[in-house]
């Protein structure tokens, strides 16, 4: 009890975030199991969306690290997701015979996806992070397009002799029984599904662990100091490029892992899936959830992924309804009157809880 009281506010929020993810996971697992009803009570739509939701949650967390904690706007985050998705899927297919266990293969693929995205993050980060503000946003936007174009011209085939790569034109000659894994602009025609909800849950927990530990460390404080006042931070000897790169690359690695998780939950994948719109969608999750607020990103990503599907009843007006709801939510969460109403409500609840506790005679 005492340790809980002595805990800082950040630690409390962090543990509450872990707790929220675990509880939601447990509840959904229970609802999806045969315990209540054969086949579970979740609708097929929601069941099919669980893996993409986990992937988008990790994407939102990872972008929140760049936008909320580092304070730099990135508009090409889907590019890292794309790198992770394609490298991870190729790895998962190539390792088919080496690692027969699907769980271990998924783990290997996610790690490989994250490594490739890390490399991309470093390559982009070194020149780009010397820029700031709007310039960085535009350069990352271009980066997203470059990744998309590169992958649209990439051909990967596999046969008994191993992997074959080609660029721009498909001149790969495969031995008998070989198959194309990545088919240029047509993407990956067939993917063996390895991702599961449990794997997605574990990845979210891992992402939270990495982000919370980074932000609570010495480096994390340096990163936030850079965000709050770059000149002041530099004057006390903080290495700007190093700390910016640290946050940016961590963010890229997490996005790559999310991409692999996403790809291995799909039947087919094309590079154009990870375009500018996907980057903006993830940015919307982050802005809606609150900059630097990880639990907000989780809720926003999950809610905004489910919402368009939940609105199917509106038929022709579905996307219109979605857009209107998005505007309303954005307006309302920024409305000072509503904000003060909710905070006074929260204070009242807290106050009455304290009173109850005092009556119960709990002293120090």
């Amino acid at each position: 009890m005492k340790t809980l009281k002595n805990m800082s506010k950040t630690s409390k929020t962090n543990f509450a975030t872990y707790g929220m993810v675990i509880v939601v996971f447990a509840v959904l697992q229970l609802l999806g199991s045969d315990l209540i009803q054969r086949g579970g009570v979740l609708s097929p739509t929601l069941k099919g969306q669980l893996v993409p939701i986990c992937a988008y949650v990790v994407m939102a967390l990872s972008l929140n690290l760049t936008v909320g904690v580092l304070g730099e706007l990135s508009l090409g985050h889907a590019g890292f997701m794309s790198v992770g998705a394609f490298s991870g899927t190729v790895a998962a297919t190539a390792l088919q015979n080496v690692i027969p266990s699907p769980g271990a293969r998924l783990l290997a693929a996610v790690v490989i996806g994250a490594v490739f995205a890390t490399v991309a993050g470093i390559l982009i980060g070194i020149p780009v992070l010397r820029l700031g503000g709007d310039y960085l946003a535009i350069v990352t936007l271009a980066f997203g397009q470059i990744i998309k174009s590169l992958i649209e011209n990439l051909y990967v085939g596999m046969d008994v002799n191993g992997l074959h790569f080609d660029f721009l034109e498909n001149k790969i000659a495969l031995a008998q029984g070989g198959k194309m894994i990545v088919n240029g602009p047509m993407g990956i025609p067939s993917i063996q599904k390895l991702s599961s909800f449990t794997a997605g849950f574990l990845l979210i927990m891992a992402a939270l662990f990495v982000i919370f530990n980074l932000t609570n460390s010495r480096s994390g404080r340096a990163i936030m100091a850079l965000r709050d006042n770059r000149i002041a931070a530099e004057s006390v000897g903080i290495n700007v490029t190093k700390y910016k790169l640290m946050a940016f690359v961590t963010s890229a690695a997490l996005a790559g892992a999310a991409g692999t998780l996403f790809a291995l939950g799909q039947n087919t994948l094309v590079a154009s899936k990870f375009d500018f719109n996907t980057s903006i969608l993830v940015l919307v999750f982050v802005v809606l959830g609150g900059l630097g607020r990880m639990w907000g990103s989780i809720i926003a990503a999950a809610a905004l992924t489910i919402l368009p599907e939940a609105l199917r009843q509106f038929a022709d007006y579905r996307m219109l309804t979605y857009a209107i709801m998005l505007i309303l939510v954005m307006l309302c969460t920024n409305n000072p009157t509503l904000k003060s109403f909710f905070s006074s409500l929260a204070a009242k609840v807290k106050g009455s809880a304290k009173k109850g506790k005092a009556k119960g005679g709990e002293g120090k």
Binding site: G178, K179, N267, V270, S272, A303, P308, R312, V329
Partner: protein, 394 residues
């Protein structure tokens, strides 16, 4: 913030509960579902297919009030494979027994995997990629990249057939000495047709002088591609693509003073009804298509009239294919004694057996048959546009 979200979600869910009350009762009708792009850039195809299928279902229900009745529901997939699986799952939750497939190819590849895993009968009107069916050899590499999905059938020509048929047609009719091709290389449909055209053209010794590509992002300006074809002295331009980019190519090459012969495929059908398109630009354009809205055939005439009365414009090939799909499923279902209370898996067994042995006459062809690999056999009609109308070529 958290509370507000909770309230919003609660509101959404209560609305969905209310909306759910209407149609969820077991209606005693055969539930046929379909998914296609009803919104977004490809909406023109999804809505056409939806409208065509709706007319067929209404006709069937009106004609046999005591026989097998059909309930049709279409869901939006915005031409995105991820969303298409959501749409498919939504339909599954609704109790769908037969799936009319995805309208476009990339989503079709995704939903076909799901339908095959669920053992759900799948007849797509227009997702023509071979990856939808699976088990077809990639003409470029000679490999089978996707395994055959047994429950999947197509109503449209499969892409390679169109490409090789076009090359053969150009060769037989001696339509051009120097051929230029523009295709969309991030589109499964366009690339599939081009690959097989290319293979066949090499085999026949056609002289292809210029091959240029474009993507979804660059499909508004074709000056580079047109100049390349012009510089190479092409006298025939092959356009394996849908009619929207094709209409821009026609307009821009007219502006650039380039006037070759044009040859298109079934995706070109519909160019004459495109809003704001100057039909005189399409004068002399040749295309291979299974459906002709100006046909004098009684069934086609009646379909076109109904379609125009209900939706205001002339039906294209997508609408006709979807119309045929519903009738083909109905024919197979009545013949094998399918009833509305059967499970999707039982219906699938019966329909697969019947489809591989039956013959079907529809708007898009007479005497159609299906092979066990899911492809349809019907002959494309060569059409040429004269005075703003399609005319049979031979």
């Amino acid at each position: 913030m958290k509370k507000f979200l909770a309230l919003t979600m609660a509101a959404v869910m209560s609305v969905s509960l209310l909306a759910g009350c209407g149609g969820n009762k077991d209606s005693g009708k055969l539930k046929i579902g379909g998914a296609g792009p009803l919104t977004g850039g490809a909406a023109i195809y999804g809505n056409a297919a939806k409208n065509g299928a709706t007319i067929a279902a209404e006709e069937i229900n009106a004609a046999n009030p005591n026989g097998l009745q059909i309930e049709l529901r279409y869901e939006d997939d915005t031409h995105d494979p991820e969303k298409s699986v959501n749409a498919y799952n939504t339909l599954k939750g609704w109790g769908m027994q037969v799936f009319l497939g995805s309208v476009t190819s990339a989503p079709g590849v995704a939903t076909s995997v799901e339908a095959n895993a669920d053992h759900m009968f799948y007849l797509t009107p227009s997702a023509s990629s071979t990856d939808v069916l699976g088990g077809v050899v990639n003409p470029l590499t000679g490999t089978v990249d996707v395994e055959r999905k047994d429950t999947i059938f197509q109503m449209c020509f499969v892409d390679p057939n169109q490409g090789s048929a076009s090359a053969q047609y150009i060769f037989d009719q001696k339509l051009g000495d120097k051929i230029a091709v523009i295709y969309k290389n991030d589109d499964v449909y366009s690339t599939g047709v081009f690959n097989s055209f290319d293979a066949k053209a090499k085999e026949l010794g056609l002289n292809v002088v210029s091959v240029t590509t474009f993507t979804e992002d660059t499909q508004t300006d074709f000056s580079v591609q047109i100049n390349d074809a012009k510089a190479a002295g092409a006298d025939l331009l092959f356009l394996p693509m849908y009619y929207q980019p094709a209409s821009l190519i026609l307009a821009q090459s007219a502006a650039a003073g380039f006037a070759p012969k044009y040859f298109g495929i079934d995706g070109m059908d519909g160019i004459l009804t495109l809003e704001g398109f100057d039909t005189s630009l399409a004068e002399g354009v040749m295309l291979l298509t299974p459906f002709n809205a100006d046909s004098e055939d009684a069934a086609t005439k009646s379909f076109v009239e109904k379609y125009q009365a209900a939706y205001g414009d002339a039906p294209n090939q997508f609408a006709a294919d979807a119309y045929d799909c519903v009738y083909a499923i109905y024919q197979a279902a009545t013949k094998t004694g399918v009833t509305a209370d059967m499970s999707a898996s039982d219906i699938c067994d019966k329909l697969v057996a019947e489809f591989t042995s039956m013959t079907f006459n529809g708007l898009t062809g007479e005497g159609m048959t299906w092979a066990a690999d899911g492809t349809v056999t019907k002959s494309p009609k060569g059409m040429v546009i004269k005075d703003g109308a399609y005319v049979g070529m031979d």
